[in-house]
């Protein structure tokens, strides 16, 4: 059984919560007591239907306001795949939450209301998913029941979206007509839309091929923790623990430790109490080296002929998440892989309008939920790859040193 993480974008009005509720219900991930609670709440609110959205709006304030204010994670499984849903709020003031949910997603699911077609919000969601390099995108045209299951209306929205998507980086786009409320094309193919010959949403989610989305070319191993038992039994053991961020490491490989550039060879790779012949993402292993080189947390093990950039100058797209704006000359902390360093904002090249892709070169600052191209200078070198090549070694977070809060997310430019 494998795993698919997907992020849903869209607003309550688009029927997002209803769709998730429907997926959970029809894949039997909802239990009787959960459904009973939702039915009781629906009845007490005087609804004449079961509001499946209540299954997913977890916090009291959300239930009261009927909106989703934070990323919520949901789980369901079918016989072939386990799914983790990052359910993200659709409103512009929660862009940061959508960026958060999309950061780990293999697939993005954007909902639109068939009656209204593409809105500024659906475009923004597609832009964010593209920026975060979510490899697969599904546009679900919802509420088809309200447009008489019209093939023409569906094709119109599909054309409009495809035209917009040409400006983005979306390697794989699928468009599916659904009705979350009635269940059309959610789990099973709908008899109401014989003109649609694609698969149902769940069938697509179960079968979309995600194994090739990882970077298996560039061997990258950020050292997280040095294991030194210093016990009688393991007196001389010295292992470098971490999670493989890219490529494949094998025992016997020639490697280089960065940023020092010291060459070494892999003596063995340990997975708990066993040795393994090779390690690849996202395995958490412990690498032992033959040479007695100085390696510590924050270093990165790579191959001599394929190394990340070792640099103090970072050029990245930054999604800003704090109500205090980002401005040039500001000092921040950068956490990149296992390395945390001080950084200075050198310049803001432009602010990106996430609705139109317009670049505002005059922007003097980035406000909350805004995205822009930023240049940073770090106090120590970082070991960077472009985000387009590796979503682990190309990503970083920005932390405000005074408050300790995460204030931004960065994606290294090519």
């Amino acid at each position: 059984m494998d795993l698919l993480r997907f992020a849903t974008a869209g607003s309550v009005d688009d029927g997002k919560s209803t769709l998730i509720g429907r997926l959970l219900l029809d894949s039997k991930a909802i239990f009787e007591d959960q459904l009973a609670a939702v039915e009781a709440t629906s009845a007490s609110k005087g609804y004449d239907y079961t509001d499946l959205a209540l299954l997913t709006d977890g916090l009291r304030s959300e239930r009261e306001q009927g909106i989703t204010i934070d990323v919520a994670y949901r789980y369901f499984a079918t016989p072939t795949r386990k799914f983790i849903i990052a359910d993200t709020p659709g409103h512009v003031q929660y862009t940061r939450n959508m960026v958060t949910g999309a950061s780990t997603a293999d697939l993005g699911l954007v909902l639109v209301d068939a009656r209204h077609g593409l809105t500024e919000q659906s475009r923004r969601h597609a832009v964010l998913l593209s920026l975060l390099r979510v490899p697969h995108l599904v546009l679900a045209v919802n509420k088809m029941d309200l447009v008489d299951y019209s093939a023409e209306r569906f094709e119109e929205i599909k054309r409009e979206f495809s035209a917009f998507a040409t400006k983005l980086t979306i390697p794989d786009l699928t468009v599916i007509p659904i009705s979350a409320l009635k269940g059309d094309n959610v789990v099973t193919r709908s008899a109401n839309m014989p003109w649609y010959d694609g698969s149902s949403l769940l069938h697509h989610l179960e079968n979309v091929h995600v194994a090739s989305d990882r970077d298996l070319r560039d061997a990258r191993f950020p050292v997280q923790y040095v294991v030194r038992p210093k016990s009688d039994e393991h007196h001389d053991y010295r292992g470098y623990a971490g999670q493989v961020a890219g490529g494949v490491f094998k025992a016997g490989d020639d490697v280089v430790v960065l940023p020092s550039g010291m060459p070494a060879t892999i003596a063995g790779i340990d997975l708990f109490d066993r040795e393994v012949t090779e390690a690849y993402p996202p395995m958490s292993v412990t690498i032992r080296l033959n040479e007695d080189v100085d390696v510590s947390r924050g270093d990165l093990i790579a191959r001599p002929n394929n190394q990340p950039a070792v640099t103090q100058d970072v050029d990245a797209m930054v999604a800003w998440m704090s109500t205090t704006p980002l401005r040039p000359r500001q000092k921040l902390l950068v956490k990149h892989t296992t390395r945390t360093v001080k950084a200075l904002v050198k310049e803001l090249d432009y602010r990106l309008d996430v609705n139109t892709l317009h670049r505002d070169l005059e922007a003097g600052e980035l406000g909350v939920n805004e995205i822009g191209r930023v240049r940073l200078r770090t106090q120590q070198p970082l070991l960077l790859d472009p985000y387009s090549r590796n979503r682990t070694t190309g990503a970083f977070i920005l932390i405000d040193e005074a408050t300790g809060v995460t204030v931004g997310a960065g994606m290294v430019n090519d």
Binding site: G242, T277, T406
Partner: protein, 304 residues
Amino acid sequence: MSVTHPDYRLSQLDQLEAESIHIFREVAAEFEKPVLMFSGGKDSIVMLRLAEKAFYPAKVPFPVLQVDTGYDFPEVLACRDEWVARLGLRLIVASVEEAIATGVVVDDGRTTRNRMQIGTLLNAIETEGFTAAFGGGRRDEEKARAKERVYSHRDEFGQWDPKNQRPELWSLFNGRIHEGEHMRIFPLSNWTELDIWHYLDREQISIPSIYFSHQRRVFERDGMLLSESEHNPLRAGEVAEERTVRFRTVGDLTLTGCVESTAATTAEIIDEIAVARVTERGATRGDDRFSEAAMEDRKKEGYF
């Protein structure tokens, strides 16, 4: 576990394991004084197993903390002691009884021991100066937990503010805290109940015997089967009788219900769970039933 796949894929269980091990190592590297909150239940045992794997062949570099309600199942305490001994860990027991005696928490006769764990726990964290506390919480357990972060920031009062959570991106965890604050860490965030059981089945590690089918004298209350015990006096009309049961969660025995079951192995339990139609908490945890927002309220106060 077979790790060499022709196309370099990992099963979802291996992915969850790798992710959790990454979290343990990250916390050990970044926090001065971590501690693992250990209830003796299956989730905290899975946590211990993952911690063991994360640092092997070195010892787990932090102690374990258990909040003893005074109403814990003896089988659970026995299992706890077995694990602590095997891994050579330091065990800190924070006792609710003691907290009541010293006035840390107030026993008004109406508050459950489970609820009194909050003050007891926060007091222990503060007294020992822990800066990070691993908990076995899973996002699939309950609606309010669905929004929980892996690193859950708690203020100097130990409280959780669901509207003011730090964004958590990729697998880049922000462990910065101020004096007096601490971080709750949930390495099992993305595991489901079924994942936990599959993992226990795969690892073949010891868990408390009450998870498996056994004979027990039980009585019915509020639609739950509760253990007959001196801490749980029978009320009018309640009758205790011997039944074949197992527990799906372990906690305060006055509140934790069991289910009738003949499942005697992890594999048999998995078969039962796969067709279960009621969530584990909803069915067997009286403490989550008090209100629609019971868990959310307890989390805000500083519960696990």
